[in-house]
Symmetry: C2
């Protein structure tokens, strides 16, 4: 089959690789219908996260079950399914508590020895625990497929950030980061009932989506000016709940500075310097909490899926460019150069 491989920074290829097969009785093989490129894939693309030459990539996909191992009972051949960005066994202590990303037998698509989502098919370990079945009719609805694809990562991650930040009725939420996760953080905060949502971002195409998703205010400034602007919008106090969806020193510094005393930061930006932006003395003096991390999106799918299916939330606008599998390298280039917000791959 064909699949995306990474060889060196900025060297993405679509290459012939062995077809995946069922290896363990709990496995399924899923033929990918849609996958996408994640902002976090760009860390590998730019050489800031190490990869072996030829390693697979892509951790967001949905598709049709093609083959299942003898022990798989929850999904079957022909089912439309979505995969979260990690697989998990469903039975360990952490899975039973909902923290599927800490599964004792879990792993990430695209890690060494595993398939990646940006390819024709994927071998899925622990298929019963990992995959979630979707209504078959969604397969013929491009808009709905795009919305459902976000359940594999960005929508669940935005939800995790909003929960971590404490988004709820009666509070002001601020979102640092205008990428797909930040925008899904806006949508999640709205869904959780936040009264006021301040989106920080300077790219109008993106802040327009933020407004569609529920942002009541947009702050286009950066750094100290952004902090000043948020404080002006909040009677000098800052936001109760702040989503940090970037992971850099600057974004975390901004997040700390705009959080109201007693508030919380929900952080989901993969840390690339953000630890340095975390001023613990300020957090101590002002009782600012920090909650978040790699989102256990598998746990959130059953809660978010009905709202996507009935249109209560529609995260599909985060995709603004679609490529075919052979166009994946172009998709990386577009996201790296920020000419695309998020790239969908339609097989």
């Amino acid at each position: 089959m064909r699949a995306t491989t990474i060889h060196a920074p900025f060297d993405m290829r679509v290459a012939d690789v062995p077809d995946p097969v069922v290896r363990n009785p709990g496995d399924a093989v899923v033929r990918v219908l849609r996958s996408c490129i994640c902002g976090s894939d760009l860390w590998a693309y730019r050489g800031e996260s190490a990869r072996q030459a030829g390693q697979r990539i892509g951790h967001e996909f949905l598709g049709i079950v093609e083959e299942t191992g003898a022990e798989v009972t929850g999904v079957g051949r022909g089912d439309l399914v979505v995969a979260p960005f990690t697989w998990s066994d469903g039975v360990c202590d952490y899975c039973r508590e909902g923290l599927t990303t800490s599964c004792e037998h879990g792993g990430f698509w695209g890690s060494v020895g595993s398939d990646g989502g940006q390819g024709e098919a994927v071998r899925v370990p622990f298929a019963d625990a990992t995959l979630v079945a979707l209504p078959a009719e969604a397969a013929s609805d491009d808009r709905l497929l795009a919305a459902l694809l976000t359940l594999s990562d960005v929508m669940g991650t935005g939800h995790h950030a909003a929960l971590g930040a404490g988004a709820r009725a009666g509070v002001t939420v601020a979102v640092v980061g205008d990428g797909a996760v930040g925008l899904c953080g806006v949508l999640a905060a709205k869904r959780l009932g936040a009264d006021r949502i301040i989106a920080l971002g300077r790219h109008e195409a993106r802040t327009d989506i933020a407004r569609r998703f529920g942002a009541t205010d947009v702050v286009a400034e950066r750094g100290d000016a952004a902090v000043e602007a948020v404080r002006e919008l909040t009677r000098g106090q800052g936001a109760h709940a702040v989503v940090e969806a970037v992971g850099t020193e600057q974004s975390m510094r901004t997040a700390v500075s705009i959080t109201r005393d007693g508030g919380a930061i929900g952080f989901v930006g993969v840390p690339h310097g953000s630890g340095t932006g975390l001023d613990l003395s300020v957090m101590f003096d002002r009782n600012i909490a920090l909650r978040g991390g790699v989102a256990p999106v598998r746990t959130y799918i059953p809660e978010l899926l009905p709202d996507v299916l009935d249109g209560t939330i529609d995260p599909s606008p985060v995709f603004d460019l679609t490529v075919g599998l052979e166009g994946v390298p172009d998709g990386y280039k577009a996201m790296d150069e920020r000419t695309a917000l998020k790239v969908m791959v339609a097989n």
Copy 2:
């Protein structure tokens, strides 16, 4: 009157200072019966926190109301009262939410221009909101006075840490720090119903108090060996709820390393390097939350006071040395050299 002043690192004096008087209609003057020396006072003593020469010090005290301003209605002359370590107006947004330490008109005893607790008397701003009345008969009960004095800081701070860490029934709590706050964290975790409490500490006199306060296990190792020991006690997973009551890089590093995936650190150690010990990548991968800061102990007094009065909790054993006011410099020396755990000042 006589009061403790700090002149330079290691230069504590007891000096003649002006008698406090009511300046504002909301003030009270409290004649101090008991005060104490806090671990955080040692940062000033050692010159690691800047102080002006002659500045007052001491933020924990209880005493008898001697005079009140015209607007004070909640406490009156002759009342036995305890003061939290900050004053607060009781009416601002933060006070109404219980975050009295972020009060818009609040302040710390011993800050420039204010009285400190380690003296004969203190002018208390916003007396109605700041002070909490105690039963008059407690004044003649030395043990009870000592227990009540902890409500001014260490017991409430330990409670704040335990809450931040998520101590509750069914969880394992670990406490980093064997000072008075760490020990009160043990007591608070026990009070909140924690099943298992692991105290980290190597000073037997202190870990003996930890056991009295509810610790089920003591880990005397430090650094990597301490992490290993906690993991062995928790099936390799770590503790759900970790109290960080020191504030150094090493203590925070230990706290992060012994927290179970999905768990939380309740941090109350005033940061002196602890930011560097916060490995955000580990916290991200394992979804470890951080909550805490300067404890709004005023808010906790009404909840903790009945349990102190009826003996449900007795934090008084944290005091292992009592001095008179003129002995305060010796008290600092004893705490600095760790020959005393916590020093009470009996006027």
